[in-house]
């Protein structure tokens, strides 16, 4: 039998490698859509500003995509390496759903990313556009299947157990399991939002320093416009996910609300729990608000049951759940508020000039990614002690490995990934410092003026700003 240490380190390793992996899809799914839209605008308007935007963000996209690929392969292998018993039992279902991701999405992205990144000058604009679209479609399909597989683990359906192994009996029920569509849209919006904050934050950085004003106004405007539309929707969709979880995984919901006793109708802003004693040592609560957020009781009287109603051996980790949820939720409120202020400033025509706002948005650059990771901690830690909810315990899913090898791999993963992460951050910072490259000679079917006729925002300094500030292209 695997030891407790093997189980714990396998769990930590999976959590760590999954969170590392998630950072990159969180950015590249949205960026691929963004790049697609920008290139379409370029083809429509022939405004070279869009080409400049496209090439700049493509540089950041490319490396993020590569990191997403390699860290994704790691996750797939880990299902077999560390979770051999899980792999054996759920293979007939999860193996297929993730397999469909590879067949439909992964190959699509991999097939066209080469054309997207290296095709300019070799293939026509139409084919570049087609490649952009296929890469974006690939990332969306990828999200589709991965969320499907994970949702099946949250709300399993359409199967029977034969000698412990899950056997699919109805694929429609497997694929459209009860939480799937809610969680899919929640993740899709989250990815678009995270990429929008990245674009908005870096544009704000340039605007605050008066670098590449024409370039960054365009991207700042697009990103904040998108955020103003998406943020309210995301809160609505997220609320639906919470409602689905209340009926299928109530213990998860009780735990993220953070009450031990069932007598609080207020919303806990902050708690310091004592899981041993079964009470909160300290809590700050807004009266009546949890009744509103949770059971949607406008009278504010409804009370969410407490953690003490959960059998002791089925309690998820309250620290991870409460704080994971708060990171996501407080992040969402901050994002919504910032987007709303953006709309107000735009109406006052101060969006590009309010230094305080620009500096604030610069700090918001990683917030979407952080909120996504918070959300995933809630989803995964809240499902414990089950790996397939109500069906397969995590403790029964782990491979019988030696303690030393799992400890070794965990430490090595932490070391390697921290190095890779800092290299990646360094790379993005260098790209931001270098700024967008000036547009040089163009194919003859495009007007050769730097600013197309439909570019009122591309004021004359769009030309001047490149002199000296854009680092020379290595040639």
């Amino acid at each position: 039998m695997p030891t407790h240490t093997v189980l714990d380190f396998s769990r930590w390793q999976f959590a760590f490698t999954a969170a590392f992996h998630m950072t990159f899809p969180a950015i590249t799914v949205g960026l691929s859509v963004f790049l697609c839209v920008i290139y379409a605008l370029y083809m429509r308007t022939h405004d070279e500003m869009y080409l400049q935007i496209y090439r700049f963000w493509r540089r950041i996209f490319a490396v993020g995509f590569a990191l997403g690929v390699v860290s994704g392969i790691v996750l797939t292998f880990q299902f077999g390496l560390n979770w051999g018993s899980y792999a054996h039992d759920v293979g007939p279902i999860i193996g297929v759903l993730i397999g469909m991701e590879v067949a439909t999405a992964f190959f699509l992205e991999a097939g066209f990313i080469g054309i997207m990144l290296y095709g300019e000058g070799r293939v026509s604009q139409r084919i570049t556009m087609f490649a952009n679209t296929m890469v974006a479609l690939g990332t969306l399909l990828s999200t589709t299947w991965i969320i499907d597989a994970n949702s099946w683990m949250q709300t399993p359906a359409g199967f029977k157990r034969v000698n412990g192994q899950f056997e699919p009996t109805d694929w429609v029920n497997v694929i459209f399991n009860p939480s799937y569509l809610h969680r899919y849209f929640h993740m899709l919006f989250a990815a678009l939002i995270a990429a929008s904050w990245l674009v908005a934050g870096i544009s704000a950085f340039y605007l605050a320093r008066r670098r590449y004003p024409a370039f960054s106004r365009r991207t700042f405007s697009i990103a904040l416009g998108l955020l103003a539309v998406l943020m309210p929707w995301q809160l609505f969709v997220g609320d639906n996910v919470g409602a689905v979880m209340s009926s299928y995984q109530p213990y998860k919901v009780f735990t993220w609300e953070g009450n031990y006793n069932s007598d609080n109708s207020g919303y806990n802003l902050l708690i310091i729990p004592d899981p041993q004693a079964g009470k909160d040592l300290f809590q700050i609560t807004i009266p009546n608000f949890d009744a509103l957020f949770g059971p949607h009781d406008l009278s504010g009287q409804a009370k969410v049951p407490g953690i003490n109603t959960i059998p002791k051996d089925q309690r998820p980790n309250v620290y991870l759940l409460f704080w994971g949820f708060r990171v996501m939720f407080y992040g969402a409120i901050t994002m919504l508020a910032t987007a709303v202020v953006g709309v107000y400033l735009r109406m006052r025509r101060k969006l590009y000039t309010s230094r305080r706002y620009l500096r604030w948005v610069t700090w918001m650059t990683p917030i979407g990614v952080i909120a996504i990771i918070g959300g995933w901690i809630v989803a995964e830690a809240g499902r414990q002690p089950w790996v397939v909810y109500g069906q397969l315990l995590t403790g029964k899913a782990v491979s019988d490995l030696s303690t030393a090898s799992v400890v070794f791999s965990f430490i090595a993963f932490v070391g390697l990934y921290l190095i890779m992460f800092s290299l990646w951050v360094g790379y993005v910072v260098r790209q931001v410092r270098r700024g967008p490259d000036p547009i040089e000679a163009e194919p003859s079917d495009v007007p050769s003026t730097p600013n197309g006729p439909r570019a009122p925002l591309a004021v004359p300094d769009a030309n001047r700003e490149h002199v000296g500030s854009g680092a020379p292209v290595s040639a």
Binding site: R58, A66, V69, V70, S71, I73, T76, F77, F79, G80, L81, N82, G84, S85, H88, D89, G91, P92, I93, G95, V96, I98, G99, V102, A103, F106, F107, L108, A110, G111, F112, G114, L117, Y118, E120, G121, R122, M134, V162, G164, Q165, P168, T169, S399, D400, L401, S402, A404, S405, A412, L416, L423, W424, D437, E440, A441, P443, V473, S474, A475
Partner: protein, 348 residues
């Protein structure tokens, strides 16, 4: 029936992976023999456009096993924990360094070492994993792995590791010839290719002969049909190695060496199947025992049957589209200026 059909499909994925990522990793080791940065960079550029697509086929194999033969996936992978984890590290280091180098637009030794070392280690570890497979992994009750951490390590698996490195490097050399016009770099790679044919051929023969010892407990050659397949596959592989040797001596027939090595790899995989079938994990686990229920296999066959031809089509298209020469010099330069394989100093 469905289980065998899916087994054939996974084999197809495995052949595609070896054929594609094999040359990809091999070019990484080939770069180690170059002295000039421009030459190394032009080798890297062959890999930069295709590596993630090629690596995808490994995912296809892993997931094909997981979905179709979960007992094999869940039983074999813990047995190769150490080599697989190290292979993943190599992939990670390699993927990052390829992107960093192609974004830098020129060779940098730090990233370059990661690229070359990652390629070498990944190739070696894949050979070790294959060696572990043919050596056999006994499973405990309910097809769960209960062996030791270092059971994978033996003289034989080190030999298969070295064989994989030689074979992949050979495929890399053939790809360099295929993807570029004749120039001093290609001429030198062709000369190396001839030596690699001899080296890889020798190691393959040695691995095959020692298999009788290493896999003695798990592999059988009792039926005449198995022997016949094995003999014919060996003849085919030998003929292909000779063809590759001949082709490396010439500047024309640019595709021949690569195709010959591809055919030899297919023959090798089929020969291996002739020995182990119907086992999917020697010595005990059969295809039928490891297979998923038929509802799963039918879904897999339908889903993948639909998408994999499409996949093959657009991967071929991408390969072809990026192969065409850049247009006239007035065209915009791509962010990382991709040149054909030519060691011109200004090429990077």
């Amino acid at each position: 029936m469905t289980a065998n059909a899916w087994f054939a499909f996974v084999l197809f994925g495995l052949v595609a992976y070896v054929a594609l990522d094999g040359y990809d990793l091999g070019i990484g080791t080939l770069a180690m023999a170059r002295r000039r940065d421009e030459e190394r960079f032009s080798l890297l550029e062959i890999v930069a456009r295709v590596w993630d697509g090629n690596e995808s086929w490994l995912l296809l194999v892993a997931l094909g096993l997981w979905g179709g033969f979960p007992a094999m996936f869940g039983g074999f992978f813990p047995a190769i924990y150490i080599p697989a984890i190290l292979m993943l590290f190599s992939f990670a280091a390699r993927g990052v360094s390829i992107e960093m180098l192609s974004n830098a637009g020129r060779w940098r030794m730090g990233w370059g070492r990661m690229f070359m070392g990652g390629s070498l280690c990944a190739a070696f570890l894949q050979g070790v994993i294959l060696g572990t497979f043919v050596q056999g992994v006994p499973l405990g009750p309910n097809a769960h792995f209960d062996g030791g951490t270092f059971d994978f390590l033996s003289g034989y698996t080190v030999l298969t590791g070295l064989t994989a490195v030689a074979l992949y490097t050979l495929a890399g050399a053939a790809m360099v010839k295929m993807r570029s016009q004749e120039n001093p770099l290609v001429a030198s790679v062709r000369a190396q290719g001839r030596k690699l044919v001899v080296l890889a051929g020798g190691l393959v023969v040695l691995s095959a002969v020692l298999l009788r010892v290493a896999g003695a407990s798990s592999l059988t050659l009792d039926q005449p049909f198995r022997v016949a397949v094995l003999v014919w596959m060996s003849v085919a592989a030998a003929a292909m190695f000779v063809t590759a040797w001949w082709s490396f001596g010439r500047t024309d027939h640019t595709n021949m060496a690569f195709v010959a090595i591809l055919v030899a790899e297919v023959a090798g995989v089929l020969g291996l199947v002739a020995i182990v079938y119907p086992m999917i994990l020697p010595p005990d686990l059969t295809i039928a025992e490891a297979a998923s229920p038929s509802s799963t296999l039918i879904f897999l066959l339908a889903g993948f049957g639909l998408f994999v031809p499409l996949t093959a089509a657009y991967n071929l298209y991408a390969f072809w589209a990026l192969r065409t020469r850049p247009g006239p010099p007035s065209l915009p330069r791509a962010p990382s200026t991709v040149q054909e394989v030519m060691p011109t100093p200004g090429g990077g």
